[in-house]
């Protein structure tokens, strides 16, 4: 092994924001390059999968893997990087909890293909062609990866050593994690590298146990600058969300949407939010409660599981073949 550590960075179902976040550590990237040989980073460096395939097992010291798993190719890469890496870090929300790609679990593969290849106004596809996993051409057979019905997290696919939360992780937290790794001051395997407090703990607003009669959408009010947003009726997820961002959104009057993932000990982000919101509703009358909830939270999946549907207890909506009602699917599609 070289004296320097060996580092790899990979992406699967993600938006590229995590890659930008890595570069957000600015000139410290040079310190990273001084400490590590970067052997694989498709976004930034030329590199070939076959070169990784030829490496000895566990010959990569550290792999930052961002993105969820939604195709067979991504699953293959997850397994390959696991096999070749000593420490595999689920980097960012997609790898940790599915994030926005995981919202595909609120619909079906069929509905996604229908939208992407037929229904969008910008699609011109008179022959109704869809991508095939195998296509015969004169030169032989061409293959495409297999598209999954259900998006998975990295941790649902392979063993993960550490999780670095955030959509994307804040550059300071990335740097903290790199330092922890270099100085060998890592927490217990399987844990999240991050704070154990919530966004509320970092939020400068004051809370005074006020209850509410209705939930408001962000465009409906100009929030008071000093009072807790939840107590003003905005669905703020700070209470369930791990600190790490510095409470950026609530500080400037926009409710937390939960991009830093569930706080320590929270297994299901949505369940934590349901509990928190139930405590602020000012009603003991079942009918009024139903009305407040149905009117105020028209999209419970998008509100409670925006970042964590794939990682939630239920992981996805019911499939039509498995008792899921078609009526539900139509709403999911139109939403």
């Amino acid at each position: 092994m070289s004296e320097k550590g060996v580092l790899a960075l990979y992406w699967a179902a993600s938006c590229g924001g995590c890659e930008i976040a890595v570069l957000g550590i600015n000139e410290k990237i040079l310190d990273v390059a001084a400490a590590f040989d970067i052997v694989f980073w498709p976004c930034v460096l030329d590199g070939k999968v076959r070169d990784i395939e030829k490496m000895d097992d566990k010959s990569i010291d550290l792999c930052f893997f961002n993105g969820a798993i939604r195709t067979s190719e991504q699953e293959y890469m997850a397994r390959l990087m696991r096999q070749k890496s000593k420490v595999l870090v689920a980097f960012g929300s997609c790898a940790q909890e599915g994030c926005i790609p995981g919202l595909a679990n609120a619909t079906t593969k069929e509905a996604i293909f229908q939208t992407a290849y037929h229904d969008t106004p910008s699609t011109v596809n008179p022959d109704g062609i869809r991508p095939q996993t195998e296509t015969e051409v004169a030169e032989g057979t061409l293959y495409l990866p297999f598209f999954y019905e259900t998006v998975k997290t990295l941790g649902q696919t392979v063993d993960v050593d550490y999780y670095l939360p955030g959509c994307p992780p804040e550059p300071e937290r990335i740097w903290d994690a790199i330092v922890a790794i270099l100085e060998n001051k890592l927490p217990a395997p399987g844990s999240v590298i991050g704070a154990e407090t919530t966004v509320c703990d970092d939020c400068p607003r004051t809370r005074d146990e006020k209850k509410i009669k209705e939930f408001k959408r962000t465009w409906e009010i100009v929030p008071d600058p000093d009072i807790c947003l939840l107590e003003q009726g905005l669905v703020c997820c700070g209470i369930a969300t791990r600190a790490g961002c510095g409470a950026l959104c609530p500080t400037v009057g926009s409710p937390c949407i939960g991009c830093y993932g569930p706080n320590e000990g929270v297994e299901d982000f949505g369940a934590r939010m349901m509990t928190a919101l139930a405590s602020v509703i000012d009603s003991d009358d079942p009918e009024e409660i139903d009305r407040i909830i149905h009117e105020g939270i028209p999209d419970p999946i998008g509100t409670f599981y925006r970042f964590s549907l794939a990682h939630s207890e239920l992981r996805r909506i019911a499939l039509p073949a498995n008792g899921g009602s078609d009526a539900k699917l139509e709403t999911a599609e139109s939403a």
Binding site: S72, D290, I301, A318
Partner: protein, 165 residues
């Protein structure tokens, strides 16, 4: 055996002070209810985090009941009102997930209401039996033949990636 009847598995969370005693009372009074229910005693219905219910479904339950003291009679004052609000939130979310309403039930039963609780249990079992098995984990286990696709990929790499000399 002809015509096997579907026997649903129903998980019930009962509060220590009212509903669990109602179930005890049903027992001592020899009021029968069907054996499809698995009861878990909690101190208060307010102890039931929505994640308990979600987890029960994720582990294969066909239905979940939460039972507690009547509103206004909770031994921890306001907690069952919280239960009521959480339940509404949970039900709204489960609907969005495509789950049938009858698979969750919030039942108030005082310590004296053994008959009422037994009746509610039997009714819920019948409703869930009519719906059939839920088998929620099956929803995410149908990702197609992943192993085959991955083997294909490995073969393809082996064939295509070496540059011919």
């Amino acid at each position: 055996m002809a015509d096997e009847r579907f026997e649903p598995k129903i998980i019930a969370f009962l509060c220590n002070w009212c509903s669990y005693r109602a179930a005890d009372l049903a027992g001592t009074a020899r009021i029968k209810y069907e054996p499809n229910i698995r009861m878990l005693r909690v101190m208060c219905s307010g102890r039931v985090d929505p994640s308990f219910v979600l987890k029960a479904f994720a582990l294969g339950a066909d239905g979940v009941m939460i039972a507690g003291c009547h509103p206004g009679e909770c031994h921890y004052l306001e907690q069952n009102y919280k239960t009521m609000r959480r339940f509404s939130m949970l039900k709204h979310t489960l609907q969005a997930m495509g789950m049938e309403d009858d698979r969750v039930r919030l039942q108030w039963a005082s310590a004296a209401e053994g008959v009422l609780l037994a009746g509610a249990i039997n009714e819920m079992i019948e409703q869930v039996r009519a719906l059939g098995p839920l088998d929620w984990p099956k929803n995410w286990s149908e990702n197609g033949n992943i192993e085959e696709a991955i083997e294909q990929l490995v073969e393809e790499h082996a064939e295509a990636m070496e540059v011919p000399v």
